[in-house]
């Protein structure tokens, strides 16, 4: 464990830049904290906090100068590993046939993700399972992932919609990072306790001004994270959840949520684990050149399940149920874990304020079985 003083944080950013990483970190844009390229600590939302409730997100000025006094915004790291739009190939007519030129995915620029929250880190690890752990590997994802350096930030403040502790994904990170930072502020002091999670992470820490952390300093960091865990107001009861959802396929609650859900697809866009996509084939006006793009898709769309006979899930009821049971039940069969990291984004960004933790409670509470 090392200490990097708050005044020395800039060194860490510069060290990463000097090693050829494009830095991506939190910054304020249009009234929200998003992830975008940053170059200095001045780009960070220092002294800014966020207020999150179901269907509500506001930034506010904090009464301190914490660098990371906020939680997660509408953008997740997903967009850098699995872009919303990707050209898969370009094709050109050639005689009676055509040639295909695959989209460029090899050797993408190296990126350092600065400020990855533990829940987000879990989300990345879950998408690793989806895109790289099976028979087929998504090469653009793998290439981007292999070129990503992760600086995690443990949460010492929590949001109104966070429930990471229930999902076992936070507020402290335990694995998957190159460097983990915990911001400690108090008693006139402001510093980061830093640890390396990989050899290259260690190497970067060794290269910036630092000193060894003392026992009390370590403890302050751990305490800050513990306090954050205790301050969480939302919980998801995950006991036997996959089976509970399987047993309640026709629970009346689905009708209730269907009356509130607009199928706007916000939740799937902001969710760090949602991975559905579609492809768009198009040609230019001459018809001689064609292109295929992959873009994010959502199981909430009407045509998501279109087959020759029609749509399998025409009702919003069925589509909401699909989203929730995929995330909290089928994901376990498919990937060995639940698919939700407890970041609370879907609750914040749902225009109807649908709260997935409350939906789970409602389905459990009635105990109506099929």
């Amino acid at each position: 464990m090392y200490i990097i003083d708050s005044t020395e944080l800039q060194n860490l950013l510069e060290e990463l830049i000097s090693r050829g990483y494009l830095l991506i970190g939190p910054t304020v844009r249009s009234g929200a904290i998003v992830y975008d390229s940053i170059r200095s600590v001045d780009d960070l939302p220092r002294g800014i906090g966020d207020e999150q409730q179901p269907s509500r997100y506001r930034l506010r000025r904090r009464d301190d100068a914490m660098f990371f006094g906020f939680v997660v915004g509408p953008v997740s790291w997903k967009k850098f590993l699995y872009p919303p739009r990707l050209t898969m190939f370009k094709a050109a007519k050639a005689g009676r046939g055509f040639t295909i030129t695959p989209g460029r995915t090899e050797n993408p620029p190296k990126k350092a993700f600065f400020g990855v929250r533990p829940c987000e880190l879990s989300g990345i690890l879950m998408q690793d399972q989806v895109f790289t752990a099976g028979t087929y590997v998504d090469r653009p994802y793998k290439a981007a992932r292999d070129n990503a350096f992760i600086v995690a930030v443990n949460c010492t403040v929590t949001g109104g919609n966070c429930f990471c502790a229930s999902m076992g994904t936070g507020p402290g990170a335990t694995k998957g990072f190159d460097i983990a930072l915990t911001e400690v502020m108090g008693g006139g002091k402001h510093y980061f306790v830093a640890s390396g999670g990989t050899p290259r992470g260690e190497e970067v820490l060794e290269a910036v001004p630092h000193r060894d952390a003392t026992e009390p300093e370590n403890k302050s960091a751990l305490d800050a994270v513990s306090r954050a865990a205790k301050s969480l107001t939302k919980k998801m009861d995950v006991r036997d959840l996959p089976q509970v959802l399987k047993d309640n396929f026709e629970h009346p609650r689905w009708d209730d949520v269907a009356g509130r859900c607009l199928a706007c697809t916000n939740c799937t866009m902001v969710c760090p684990t949602c991975f559905c996509s579609t492809v768009e084939d198009s040609t230019d006006l001459t018809g001689m050149h064609a292109e295929r793009d992959r873009r994010w898709d959502s199981c909430f769309t009407m045509d998501f399940t279109k087959v020759a006979g029609g749509n399998i899930r025409p009702s919003i009821r069925a589509r909401y149920r699909q989203w929730m049971t995929h995330k909290l039940s089928n994901w376990m069969d498919q990937f060995g874990t639940l698919g939700c990291v407890g970041c609370g984004r879907c609750i914040t960004w749902c225009p109807s304020g649908i709260d997935i933790t409350a939906e789970v409670d409602a389905i459990r509470g009635n105990g109506v079985h099929e």
Partner: protein, 286 residues
């Protein structure tokens, strides 16, 4: 309950690479269903598939469609796909001519477990275009006819004009000792065959339930009734296999469209053992 596993892709990234193949022949089977015979060219040297698998066929600029392979798996180099013209891409495929080039990637999916049927009777029940993914099974079994006992084919279509592979159906019955029963939903006065749902054909055959394997493919409702009928006649559920269908975009388990409960139809299916998915069959809008 294990069935034959998916062969691993030939090379990393193979599943996503589109190959160009040439149309050798176009055969119109009915007024809205046609078979494309494809010359794989260079790709033919390494391409192999198992009965029940499908390819993604690409029409320049229009997109891809998931189509079951309906040719003989032992014939390298030539592939056949029987296609129902229902949408944009299949309409595009319906317009190709001999010598045209289309894209192909595959094969994908879990296959019919033919080894499980060795030494047993096989009862194949096909509805409509469902006969297309089952034809490779028939070819495979007929190549080793003595490895299987009775082979029974129950096939239903909408009308006599909608029947596929009529010449082969006769050939299988006459020359390969296959019991072929064909029915249509309605006929005209020239049709002397059975008329009625495909499940009614069960009344005309006697199955030895303990030694029969069932392969079923067709509209979901028809498959459910068929399963009922098979179980009514004593077939154990782990002897029954069916082929499911869902929307597909990627065929490699990434796009999420083909999910059926926890199953990805593109890689866990399309062929499933009944025990694996029976709890899903009755779920509406799953």
């Amino acid at each position: 309950m294990k069935h034959e596993t998916i062969p691993a892709p030939a090379a990393p990234g193979e599943g996503l690479r589109i190959h160009t193949v040439t149309v050798k022949k176009v055969i119109w089977e009915t007024d809205d269903t046609f078979t494309l015979q494809l010359d794989l060219g260079e790709m033919g040297e390494t391409f192999s598939f198992l009965p029940g698998q499908f390819n993604m066929l690409y029409v320049f600029g229009l997109g891809e469609a998931a189509i079951s392979i309906s040719s003989d798996a032992s014939q390298g180099g030539t592939l056949a796909h029987t296609i129902h013209r229902v949408g944009t891409v299949t309409s595009g495929l319906a317009q190709v001519k001999r010598g045209d080039v289309i894209g192909l990637r595959g094969p994908f999916g879990a296959s019919w477990p033919i080894t499980a049927a060795r030494g047993k009777d096989v009862c194949i029940v096909a509805g409509g275009i469902g006969l297309a993914p089952l034809r490779p099974v028939m070819y495979a079994m007929l190549r080793e006819r003595t490895a299987f006992e009775r082979i029974i084919l129950l096939y239903g279509a909408r009308s006599p004009l909608d029947l596929l592979y009529r010449v082969e159906l006769e050939e299988w019955a006459k020359e390969h000792n296959v019991e072929v029963l064909v029915t249509v939903d309605r006929g005209d006065s020239s049709w002397k065959g059975y008329i009625g749902v495909v499940t009614s054909l069960f009344s005309y055959i006697k199955l030895d339930a303990r030694a029969t394997v069932g392969y079923v493919c067709g509209p979901e409702t028809m498959m459910k009734y068929t399963i009922d009928e098979m179980e009514r006649r004593g077939l154990a559920e782990d002897q029954i296999y069916l082929s499911m269908e869902r929307n597909m975009k990627c065929a490699v388990g990434f796009c999420g469209h083909c999910q059926y409960g926890p199953e990805f139809i593109c890689k866990d299916g399309p062929v499933f053992t009944l025990p694996r998915i029976r709890h899903l069959l009755d779920k509406k809008e799953l």
